[in-house]
Symmetry: C3
Subunit: 346 residues, 3 copies
């Protein structure tokens, strides 16, 4: 595997999932793969979960890790040719990126959307420069439009939870091994209904998490995805092409097995001028106990960090049905699978 950006990069999902559970069962099993291999983590933006879980996954695999914090303001890279670089940019990306590639075997990049120039963001300009010029396998640690390590961890979490629930039948179904829901059809009586719901926020946030979540859920044919959001917040078709959208949040929640809440700013699909703006502040979308009562005793999910009582109430996130901590824990697992695949392909 040379890049990890879209769900297609990971190949057949059932194989990826069985590797995930194998690694969760023995995190150090592939430690020999990383010997004398170096991961370089490059952060153009802050990170807590991604920084910690990726570092942990790499160390589990026996890798050396170098973390590079790029203060985007202080270290501006020139990207154009022909410019006389007598301003505030002290290095050109055509030198900086190959140099970073010199000192490592695999590169992870975090670079958020600027939310002002849709074309620039959706072209994944920074990520693609690393892919083109570093000479190394590159994976997204949340970039302008995607956060696949999160979506993969979310899928692992849904599958784990669903098996415990006996496939939604709430029976005491045996689930002793970690065989995936795809391979044990007899114990799984229906496809879980997973709802991606927009929720209000006080700051304009990127679309990376909902984009990847939708893409991964749609790729899993055993999942029934519904997306709900205010009108105008339509996600980019390249990620949600065939997904059901239900603008009535209550109708979307009815019978749901999993509620995945997330804010995102206006994707500018319906009205390009709205790109990156907050065009809805309706707090009736906040997920509270009444919302959850519409579901099929649904689980609550969020990628964190979460603004309580804005995205979700204290009661819901603290309830036994909240999966937010297991989701975070599975970030170590999803990243381990990705790094293992990249190490195997070196």
């Amino acid at each position: 595997m040379r890049t990890f950006i879209n769900v297609s990069d990971i190949g057949p999902l059932d194989k990826a999932m069985s590797e995930a559970f194998e690694i969760k069962n023995d995190r150090y099993k592939y430690q020999h793969l990383g010997k004398n291999k170096t991961l370089m983590m490059i952060f153009f933006n802050n990170s807590l979960r991604t920084r910690l879980s990726t570092q942990k996954a790499a160390m589990n695999l026996g890798m050396n890790v170098i973390v590079l914090d790029v203060n985007a303001g202080a270290w501006k890279l020139e990207t154009e040719r022909g410019v006389i670089m007598d301003g505030d940019k002290s290095e050109h990306l055509l030198e900086a990126i190959p140099v970073m590639g010199c000192y490592c075997d695999i590169i992870g990049v975090r670079s958020f959307a600027g939310l002002t120039d849709r074309e620039y963001d959706y072209a994944e300009t920074v990520l693609n420069q690393f892919i083109k010029y570093s000479g190394r396998p590159v994976f997204a640690m949340e970039t302008a439009t995607v956060h696949p390590l999160q979506a993969f961890a979310d899928l692992i979490t849904i599958e784990e939870s669903w098996k415990v629930e006996g496939g939604g039948l709430k029976e005491n179904t045996p689930a002793a091994d970690h065989s995936s829901l795809h391979t044990s059809p007899s114990t799984l009586h229906k496809r879980p209904k997973v709802v991606l719901t927009w929720a209000p926020h006080c700051r304009a946030l990127p679309q990376a998490v909902p984009n990847s979540f939708a893409q991964w859920m749609l790729a899993d044919k055993d999942i029934d995805l519904v997306i709900t959001h205010p009108k105008g917040y339509e996600l980019d078709p390249q990620f949600v092409g065939g997904a059901r959208v239900e603008y009535d949040q209550r109708k979307a929640f009815e019978g749901a097995d999993f509620i995945y809440a997330k804010n995102w700013s206006n994707p500018g699909v319906t009205n390009p001028a709205d790109y990156g703006k907050i065009t809805c502040e309706d707090r009736s979308w906040t997920v509270d106990t009444e919302h959850m009562s519409w579901t099929n005793n649904g689980k609550f999910m969020h990628c964190l960090p979460v603004r309580r009582n804005l995205i979700v109430t204290d009661d819901v996130i603290e309830s036994p049905n909240s999966l937010v901590i297991p989701e975070a824990a599975n970030r170590e697992i999803s990243c381990s699978v990705v790094l293992k695949r990249m190490l195997e392909a070196l």
Copy 2:
């Protein structure tokens, strides 16, 4: 061992001391214990010695280390329930702390006293949140009221020095092995007199170091502790309950074998309104050669960093009787014992 905050956490002191000397003799002896174990060091405040010595101790034990610098200003954690988080706090500690616990086996926390709210500081609010919510063993890397890694290192330093001195008799007593002063009574003719002295400073400093120093010295029955400070600077009784306080600095110094200098701001014990304030600026408390001449050829100690010619003069800190560098070096040893104990108990 699940927490390391107070001297009681380390159990019998003679056993802890003999482990310290065993490790000092062979720092890599317990390297197998840390294999595939991860230490997370979380800094809410700056650090030099603690950062370096803790990292070194963990690596000696074969652990992986993740360092997380939390700029307290930039990453404010919400701590209350029910708050609508639409302000500057982007994450609630009830999510942040369990998540950090997901990616490691042991957690070290540095979080200084704010020095404005005595109750909040002395409740060790941040430290206790990590203990309660992280699901991991937690040790203090200087918190609001304690700095036990320093006090443990100081005790190691005193014992090493005392043995070299032949137990204060200045005879050429054999001290070939590293058996502790507790177990070789025949070579130790008296209890060392250890004086904790306040000294002036230009900034308001926490009481963590003197609190722990007093607690550890009092726990060692072979040490004769005297505390001296200006009136009004009484330390909290939970740390110094039974200690002798001598307000006349000269009387305190007379016959002392060890002088441990440190500034602290007003602990607010006598007058709660003074908490965290500088209520004495008397520079006659600065430890100079005249002060040291009152002692029994005493050794000079300080935890560092130290303001020269405010806490102590150049002459004293540079004299052969200064133990400030050995104290710093023993931070690696005290931390190694703590991590070893925590690893054994995982």
Copy 3:
């Protein structure tokens, strides 16, 4: 090896070069040397290449690495004795440096010239304090006046390139093994002409890179060094004592096999009052294709980061004759040799 500052520290160059090629051929060959040894990298200034390549080299050798970023502004060290430290300096270097030495086996220091006080800069005050007080082997990771890891990497790059060229004869000379140009005279028909050329820049830069480059090239008797720069930019005689200086850039370039471009501020050799100033902004010195056409199909070199179209044009730096990325890659190799030598001498 206890210090690495000047070319003389590395001993005979042919031996150093053969070690470099041996390590480049098998970077992990000396991994046993670094077991349980700790490198401390101390940065008073920013770094990209040096930070990454030094960390990589240390990990290749099996070392543990601790990186300490000292924000020079925030953590001011007092250096004078007798000062009452009641200002903004919270620690004296006489404590800080020995303490850092406690927790590691080898120290790397980056500390740039301030460019205001020539005497202070050229005395290498900070570096020498580490050598004097840390008790550890110390190497320069670019200090006030030298950057020997860069110069050593440049020499490796020149030798590699020269061998591929068959010693400048542009014949298809066999160069199968990595024996140095010094030991295979039969395949090497002439000494390469290496030109160190000043180039314009918008900010005042230190002289560390040209100083070390000149020193290392002069130490290699198989290299024919010429230095060219505007009048008044004469480098310090301790580094370039016997070097040919040609003020006419075109004459210098004629017949050159390697062009090494670099800006430096006025070294204050001719006029001490000019030290650290920009006294020439002549952009005719920018290296462009016309400049390169004067050479013997010369290679272009620069230590990076480089300001394009100020130091060098896009065309030249992107041409097949550009060696800037191989130079950066060889930083891992030069540092590996230095750390290996220091580990062997512990």
